[in-house]
């Protein structure tokens, strides 16, 4: 499997160190390192598979990151090199790095795979980030279930004296908003409740944990960075498009019997990844991209579109955290949407007036559209107006995400909504499809 072990002495030609390990050639890059049976890859196996991280002098790795074109895989798709530079330049005090694996999106499972099975790849990336931005402290922000695997990995590294910085695990609460960056900072400093804060004119990257410049980076982005450090930007760009190079981890639900974590090159048609042709468009009702903060596209759009953030945004959606959920034909899409909007309303932090009031009204309206369409005052047309009343008006982007979920649902399921208004709600006994965590404050279904 692995083409050969690197010599025990770390090779460290500055800026251009290439280990003896061969880079993965196919579309499976991160996942090619997953061990048999999904057991966590320990430090010895990790070094055997990937070799050590070469040493990069000064800001050489930041330049390499810029060249690689790596973008953030937590949802925002912001250029990673630009973000790291802004943290490095942000102030005189030494920054802090947060490896964010909170993954509050109920339909997403890719960060879980990384922190449970490939913790050392994530930690390599986090330590690289720390050395690149001048941080002495790394926090690994993960749900409680991932703590044992991450703690074990940190211990192994401490014993091997591998890293020049301190690494600490912080437990992310099981909440939808846990991974939001100001909420992550709140968790790390122990603020209760650990809800998003208003950053005003000073973003987290300038003033976060303890007032220090803080880099909050998704664990998948860090794992990609760890491979770029080993194999270089040129290798990274061998797959993907010029604006969206590399691969992405997707959580695909509704295509196969069980949800699957799939790694795919950016830019390839989504239909190809799903192994479906345009003729299969009738086998599902729509596709949710990104997650509950993402948006819906029609089956045809989904099968034909290239997998890039730009293509998704053309439909008012987003690749977000990499969720691809195919809605089966036996459920009522409006009842699915209603369940999720009710869940999202309950997951709000309850801090901003427009979000507290607006999401309650929005959840109610979507519930009426799904179950009591005659009670919906103002008809379907009233719903986008409600969306407009919450968009851009919270301290965080939670209301914007809910509005995107609703607006795209109305576009994709507009005909279905018209049917509800004409004939009344669907009567289906099908199991609900989209997952709602058991820890949710309120039950999504009525």
């Amino acid at each position: 499997m692995s083409p050969g072990s690197p010599s025990s002495t770390a090779r460290s030609r500055a800026g251009s160190g290439r280990p003896t390990v061969q880079p993965p050639a196919g579309a499976e890059r991160l996942l090619s390192g997953v061990g048999a049976n999904g057991t966590p890859v320990d430090l010895a196996d990790h070094l055997d598979r990937w070799g050590p991280v070469p040493t990069w002098q000064g800001t050489a790795f930041l330049a390499e990151l810029d060249t690689s074109g790596l973008r953030g895989h937590g949802g925002a798709w912001f250029p990673v090199g630009t973000k790291w530079r802004s943290v490095r330049k942000a102030g005189l005090r030494s920054p802090v790095v947060v490896a964010n694996g909170a993954e509050g999106e109920p339909a997403s499972g890719k960060d879980r795979v990384l922190v449970h099975q490939l913790p050392h790849l994530v930690l390599d990336g986090a330590v690289l980030a720390a050395t690149s931005v001048g941080a002495g402290q790394v926090y690994v922000h993960v749900p409680s279930a991932a703590v044992p695997a991450v703690t074990r990995a940190i211990e192994e590294r401490r014993r091997a004296n591998l890293d020049p910085c301190a690494i600490e695990v912080v437990v992310a609460p099981d909440r939808f908003l846990a991974g939001q960056e100001t909420a992550a900072v709140a968790t790390i400093i122990g603020r209760k409740p650990a809800t998003p804060t208003f950053v005003g004119l000073k973003p987290i990257r300038e003033q976060g944990v303890g007032g220090r410049p803080t880099l909050v980076q998704n664990v998948e982005s860090l794992a990609h960075a760890a491979l770029i450090a080993r194999f270089g930007a040129e290798w990274f760009r061998k797959v993907g498009t010029s604006e969206s190079p590399g691969t992405v981890l997707l959580t695909v639900t509704g295509r196969w019997a069980e949800p699957r974590i799939v790694e795919a090159p950016l830019g390839v048609p989504l239909g190809e990844i799903l192994q479906l042709g345009l003729g299969d468009a009738r086998s599902f009702q729509g596709v949710l991209l990104g997650g509950y903060g993402g948006g819906w596209v029609t089956p045809h759009e989904a099968l034909a579109m290239p997998l890039t953030e730009e293509a998704a945004r053309q439909y008012g959606s987003s690749i977000g955290a990499g969720v691809v959920a195919l809605l089966p034909t036996n459920v009522c899409p409006l009842s699915e949407v209603s369940r999720v909007v009710t869940y999202l309303e309950g997951e709000g932090a309850g801090q901003c007036g427009p979000c507290v009031n607006g999401l309650a009204v929005l959840a109610n309206a979507m519930g009426q559209l799904a179950y009591k369409p005659n009670a919906l005052r103002g008809g379907v047309a009233a719903i986008p107006t409600l969306c407009g009343l919450v968009e851009g008006r919270g301290a965080c982007r939670h209301p914007d995400g809910v509005a995107r979920f609703v607006r795209t649902a109305l576009r994709v399921y507009g005909d279905h909504a018209a049917l509800h208004l004409q004939r009344g709600p669907c009567h289906t006994s099908a199991q609900p499809f989209l997952p709602i965590p058991r820890t949710a404050r309120r039950q999504g279904a009525r």
Binding site: T197, F198, G200, L201, Q351, C352, G353, P354, C355, N357, G358, L389, R393, G394, A395
Partner: protein, 71 residues
């Protein structure tokens, strides 16, 4: 010399919808159905700067700030 530009920035967590700001600066601030301010995007017109300053200063929650744009 370029004239400085000002905008109003609202902290939506601090704001609890007193509505004083909308009374003092109706040209730029209206209230949503629940009484929370909706602030017109863009710069505050020069002739309204005094009123904007008063609106910010009068917020009982100190949720509204008049900010000088740096660019």
């Amino acid at each position: 010399m370029k004239r400085p530009r000002f905008t109003l920035v609202l902290n939506p967590i601090a704001c609890d919808g007193h509505g004083v700001c909308a009374e003092l600066l109706p040209e730029c601030i209206r209230l949503d159905p629940w009484g929370f301010p909706i602030i017109e995007s863009g710069d505050i017109p020069v002739e309204l700067l005094d009123h904007a300053e008063r609106a910010a200063a009068s917020c009982p929650r100190m949720a509204l700030t008049l900010v000088k744009q740096t660019s």
